[in-house]
Symmetry: C2
Subunit: 371 residues, 2 copies
C-alpha cells in the first residue's frame, strides 16, 4: 500500500492515534529520561532509508510543527552494494514528500577491507559526514534510529567484549561516538528511539503506507553484530518474551549508576605533566567500587587499548597493601605506578619498556578476532 503523493505526515494530527501517542512518548523520553530540551533544535537525521531511520524521520517530521525542529536528512552512500544508488534515490524521494532538506554523499568504501575493519571505517566515515552536515546547517544534534532491539544487541555485544558495569547497560541515549563532542564537552548524538520496539516502527510505516528499503547485508553472518542479532538474541527471546523490558530496565539502572560513579570518580583525576594522578588522600576516601572505576577512567583518558580486568584488580590489591614501587602495564603502553603520592597513570614508550622489564602483568585484547 503506497499513500498518494503528498499525503505523508508532517504533523501529529496526520498520524493514527497510536502512532501520535508513540511520537509523544518519544518526546517524553528525550526530555525526561535523556534530559535534553530539543524544542526549537536543529536536527540532522542519519537516514539510510531502512525501516528504522525512515520511521525516525516520519516521527520527527510529525513532531516538527509542535516542537519547532529544523530537520535535515543526511544519507551516506557507501558504494558497497549494487543497489546503493537506488537506496539514495528512495531516501531523496522520502525527504521530498516529507518536505525535509536532503543531503547526499557518495563514498567508495569497497577498498576498506572486510569484517570489523570495514565496519569501523564505515562508522567513522558516516559520523564524519553527519557532523559535517550538522556544522554546515548549524544544527545541535545528529539523530540516529537505534531502537530497543539494537540496545539488546549492544548489551550482548558488550557482555561478549567484557564490558564492566555500568557500560554493560548498553549505549547512551545521548552520546559522543567517534569523538563527536561539542565545544561544551557534551555529546552530539541523540537516540530518541532507544527504548522503542522495531515492531512499533514497522506498524507506523505500514499504517501510513510509507515504504522503506531492506538492507540485505543485515542478514550476513560475517559481522559479529549480525551473528548476535540473528543467532543469539532469538534464543534469549524464546526464553523470555519480555527481554526488551529487561534491556530497558538494565539501561535505566546503568544510566543512574553512570551518573553516580562519574560524580564520585571524575573529581579525583588529577592531570599532571607526567599523566593522570590519583592522589593518596583522594583514593583513601573512595570505596573499592569507585577505585576500580577510577583506574579504568584514568586509562580511558590516556587513550588506546582496553584495560585488562585482572590487572585492574591486581593494581587495587597492591594499592590496598601499600606496595609502593609496584608498576603495572596495560595494553598500548599505558602504565600505573604506585608510590607514596598515590597512583600515577602515564603513557610513554620508555615507561612501557621499563614496566615490561619489571614484569607488571601484561594487557592483551579481548575477543578472538573473527570480526
Amino acid at each position: 500500500m503506497i499513500a498518494s503523493e503528498g499525503s505523508w505526515p508532517r504533523a501529529l494530527s496526520a498520524l493514527a492515534p497510536a502512532d501520535a501517542r508513540l511520537a509523544l512518548s518519544i518526546h517524553r523520553f528525550v526530555t525526561r529520561e535523556l534530559r535534553v530540551d530539543w524544542r526549537g533544535a536543529g536536527l540532522v537525521v542519519a537516514l539510510s532509508g531502512g525501516l528504522d531511520s525512515t520511521a525516525l524521520l516520519v516521527v520527527l517530521s510529525a513532531l516538527r510543527e509542535r516542537l519547532d525542529f529544523s530537520l535535515t536528512a543526511a544519507h551516506l552512500d557507501h558504494g558497497l552494494r549494487p543497489e546503493s544508488g537506488q537506496d539514495a534515490e528512495a531516501a531523496r524521494e522520502l525527504c521530498r514528500r516529507l518536505d525535509v532538506p536532503f543531503q547526499l554523499r557518495r563514498l567508495d568504501m569497497a577498498n576498506h577491507g572486510t569484517g570489523r575493519g570495514l565496519e569501523d571505517a564505515g562508522r567513522r566515515a558516516r559520523y564524519a559526514f553527519l557532523d559535517e552536515v550538522r556544522q554546515d546547517v548549524g544544527a545541535r544534534w545528529i539523530v540516529t534510529a537505534h531502537h530497543v532491539g539494537d540496545l539488546a544487541e549492544d548489551i550482548l555485544l558488550r557482555l561478549i567484549r567484557g564490558a564492566s558495569w555500568p557500560g554493560l547497560g548498553g549505549m547512551s541515549g545521548m552520546a559522543a561516538p567517534c569523538g563527536l563532542r561539542g565545544a561544551d564537552g557534551e555529546g552530539r548524538v541523540l537516540r530518541p528511539l532507544l527504548l522503542v520496539e522495531k515492531a512499533r516502527l514497522r506498524a507506523l510505516l505500514e499504517r501510513q503506507g510509507i515504504p522503506w528499503r531492506e538492507d540485505a547485508s543485515n542478514g550476513q553472518r560475517n559481522f559479529r553484530r549480525n551473528r548476535v542479532r540473528l543467532d543469539v538474541l532469538p534464543l534469549l527471546l524464546a526464553e523470555n518474551s519480555d527481554l526488551y523490558d529487561v534491556a530497558r530496565s538494565l539501561w535505566r539502572v546503568a544510566r543512574a549508576d553512570e551518573t553516580y560513579w562519574r560524580a564520585l570518580v571524575f573529581p579525583v583525576l588529577e592531570f599532571v605533566p607526567e599523566g593522570i594522578l590519583l592522589g593518596r588522600n583522594a583514593l583513601a576516601g573512595l570505596p573499592r567500587s569507585a577505585r576500580l572505576r577510577a583506574y579504568v577512567e584514568a586509562l580511558t583518558r590516556l587513550g588506546r587499548g582496553q584495560a585488562r580486568s585482572s590487572t585492574i584488580f591486581a593494581l587495587d590489591e597492591a594499592w590496598e597493601q601499600h606496595r609502593y614501587g609496584r608498576r603495572f602495564q596495560f595494553s598500548g603502553g599505558a602504565c600505573a605506578a604506585l608510590d607514596s603520592r598515590g597512583i600515577l597513570f602515564c603513557f610513554s614508550t620508555d615507561e612501557a619498556a621499563l614496566c615490561a622489564k619489571e614484569g607488571g602483568a601484561a594487557g592483551k585484547r579481548k575477543g578472538n578476532g573473527r570480526d
Copy 2:
C-alpha cells in the same frame, strides 16, 4: 585409567604440581576473595559423584591435612534415573578410598512433576538434606562444586530473568540459598571452585586416575539451564574465547558493588509494625542509584514475587515529584505507599485489594513459563 586401591590423594604432596597449585589457588580464593577463614572448619561436601563434585572432594581431601578440615560427603539419590543407585555406590566407593565419611539419603522425586517445578523441588530437597547433615555433624559449611562455567551460565540466566545490577554479576561465593542462614545471619553455603574452569577439574581427575559419573540429564533441553549451557554459551564462547575471564571480572566488580550498596541501603530500612518504612530524611540523603536498590531490598524483605522494574522506576519518579498519597502495587500483594513520612512498603490482602482498585501499576512475573 583407574589408580590402584588406596592411592587416591589425601594430601597436597600426593597431587601433581599443577593440581597442588590449583588447590592452593582455591584456598587463596576462599580466604582473600570470599574472606572466609575455613581453617579447622567442618565442611559438608555436596557430592553427586559427577566430575565437578568429585574434583571438589579430591581438592578438599588434599587440603585437609594442611588446613585441618573435618570433611563429610553427602549424597542425595533423587530416585529419578534408573542408574541413580549406581551413582550412590560410586560416591560411597570414592569416599571410602579418600577416607571421607559418607552420608546417603534416598528420595522418590518421581512424582514432583517436570521442568522448573521439579528442578525447584529437587533443589529444596537437596539443600534441606545437606543442612540436616551439616547440623548432625556440627559443621559450619555446606560446600558445592559450582565452577566458572556454572557462573557464566548463571549470569546468562539472570540476564534472561531480568536481574538488575549487581545481581547480574552472578551467584555469590558464600551464600544462603533456600534460606540457609546461620544464627549469625550469615550464609552456610561456600563455593570454592567458583572461578575455576571445568577443564582444570577434569585434568586433575584424569591425572589422578579418579573416575566420575556422567549425568545424562545434563544433555536434555527440558530445563532452561541446560538450553543456556548447550545452545547459548557456545555461541558466546565462539565470539570470545576469554568469556570465562569476562565472567570472573563481572563477578568481582559485582561483589565490590554489592558490598557498597548494602552498606548504603541496609541502614535506611526501618522495620515498623505495618511493614518497612524508608523515611523521608533517609531517602533525601540517597542518590537515585541507592533509592532504586532500597525499594528492591524492601520488597525482597517483604517476600514473595519479583518487583517489576517499570513499577520501581515509576515509584521513584513519584517520590521525586512528592506525589504523596500515591500507591504502587507489586506482584504477590506487596504495596508501596507514599506519604509525607516517606515510603511504606507493606503487605496485606486488604492493602493489596485497595492498591489494585486505586490503579497502581500491577506486577507480573517475567519469563514465558517454558521451564
